[in-house]
């Protein structure tokens, strides 16, 4: 899937350093130019692991996971940052970052026009669009994310119960023991790994 | 994925000695 993507478009796949929308620090993402898709990279990094790979042993047990990610989480980071200026701005003045210059790749995403209205008010002046962060729209959009995440947690039988239980010993009937608000709390926590702290607090109130 | 670390990268007769099982 990735391999043929990189064949079709010059440097079809690039690992880029972009902002982590939760912490504001840098993180590695994978950008698939061909499919115009953003992937977050998480690494499985427990100590004292090695691999058998075919007829060889490889030291170091790192395993990188590329997971499709909604780029709006990253765009949201820039809109919230730009919101201080309290005015509508063109996109290319919002999404810029001298620490992570590759953020302009986000502007190449085809679906952008469809995505932005989830989190911004927009104005069109002389067929140019100007955007401004909208908190209530964003909270409504995040609520959808939380509901989708809850559905996925249930269908994937993720153990969300409040008491600490190692996932290695999940009980077969744990779904019954997990109450609805355990799911909401868990889903909110998971989404909060992708949004700034104060938005997470607003979302929790919302 | 092994539960231990062998701090080298080298060929190993995995097919002869390692029979994965659940």
């Amino acid at each position: 899937y990735f391999k043929d993507a990189s064949k079709k478009v010059k440097n079809g796949l690039t690992f880029v350093k972009l902002v982590n929308p939760c912490t504001g620090e840098g993180a590695i993402y994978l950008f698939n130019m061909y499919l115009q898709q953003l992937f977050e990279i998480k690494v499985f990094k427990e100590k004292h692991h090695s691999w058998f790979i075919n007829q060889s042993v490889q030291s170091g047990g790192l395993l990188h996971f590329a997971t499709p990610m909604d780029p709006l989480f990253l765009l949201l980071h820039y809109f919230i940052k730009a919101d201080k200026e309290e005015k509508f701005q063109p996109l290319d003045q919002v999404v810029m970052d001298d620490i992570f210059p590759n953020c302009i790749l986000l502007l190449k995403l085809r679906e952008l026009e469809k995505l932005l209205p989830h989190v911004t008010e927009e104005k069109e002046i002389g067929n140019k669009k100007y955007y401004k962060y909208s908190k209530e729209k964003t909270l409504k959009w995040l609520e959808k994310k939380v509901n989708q995440t809850m559905a996925a947690l249930k269908s994937n039988k993720v153990n969300v119960s409040a008491h600490v239980q190692s996932t290695a010993f999940f009980s077969s009937c744990q779904a019954s023991s997990d109450k609805e608000d355990d799911y909401i709390r868990y889903a909110h926590g998971l989404i909060s790994d992708y949004i700034p702290k104060e938005l997470s607090d607003d979302l929790s109130k919302y | 994925l092994l539960p231990c670390e062998i701090p080298v990268n080298r060929p190993a007769p995995v097919g002869c000695f390692f029979t994965p099982a659940i």
Binding site: N20, F65, G189, D193 | P13
Partner: protein, 296 residues
Amino acid sequence: MDLNMLERNNTGRCRLNSPVPAVCRKEPCVLGVDEAGRGPVLGPMVYAICYCPLSRLADLEALKVADSKTLSENERERLFAKMEEDRDFVGWALDVLSPNLISTSMLGRVKYNLNSLSHDTATGLVQYALDQGVKVTQVFVDTVGMPEKYQERLQQHFPGIEVTVKAKADALYPVVSAASICAKVARDQAVKNWQFVEKLQDLDTDYGSGYPNDPKTKAWLKKHVEPVFGFPQFVRFSWRTAQSILEKEAEDVMWEDLPTGDQEGLGRITSYFNEGSRTRPRLPHRFFQERGLEQT
């Protein structure tokens, strides 16, 4: 002796036994316990019991099952065949402990040493005979470890039976010598027909007696050591002989529970007090922590 159950899976343990002679369920019987292959670094260790009615002890003796150590491999096999013929009054049972079972017991996180494994195996075989309805009244055991402790443990386990644990029991009691023959025949056959689970190319089976001081065995071990996998499972990894070759020829392996110097991540205790200096990084959500997943 039909060992094909062992040949199908020689990585655990397997129990073999003769039919129980009817007379052994009626008359008081004497039972002997002995083992073969305790010392070798290769192959299984075999525990055996042999039992017959007290009234037929002379017939067993007449089989010339003298001290099994003085018999050659062929003589043992011939004697075993004769015991099989006399199955109307002689019964036997074996427990074949594979080298893999021995190694994993001795090297497990919770150590299960060879003496305990031996004692438990012997006890299990005597219990097996009782469960089969054999009227055991006397048990004679060749000693492993401290005879007194062993005797005491066995006596406690089998209060209604007169237990005698003695060194060189196989030279003193014909029924122990008979057990020793069963054990040795089984071990010799298992070693001779060992099915290597590892599909090795240049495998030679000229490994000598399997005893650590046998030059052929030592040469065979040196030749078949594999730097990542160690040895075929025919080898007892827990034997000093094997371990010293691994230390020299094989790669290092680190396990998480090895006491390593760098307990990184544990700040000095004072650092937990002045919270300010230690920017507590926001931990990823439980979902990721439980799966060992981190941001890159």
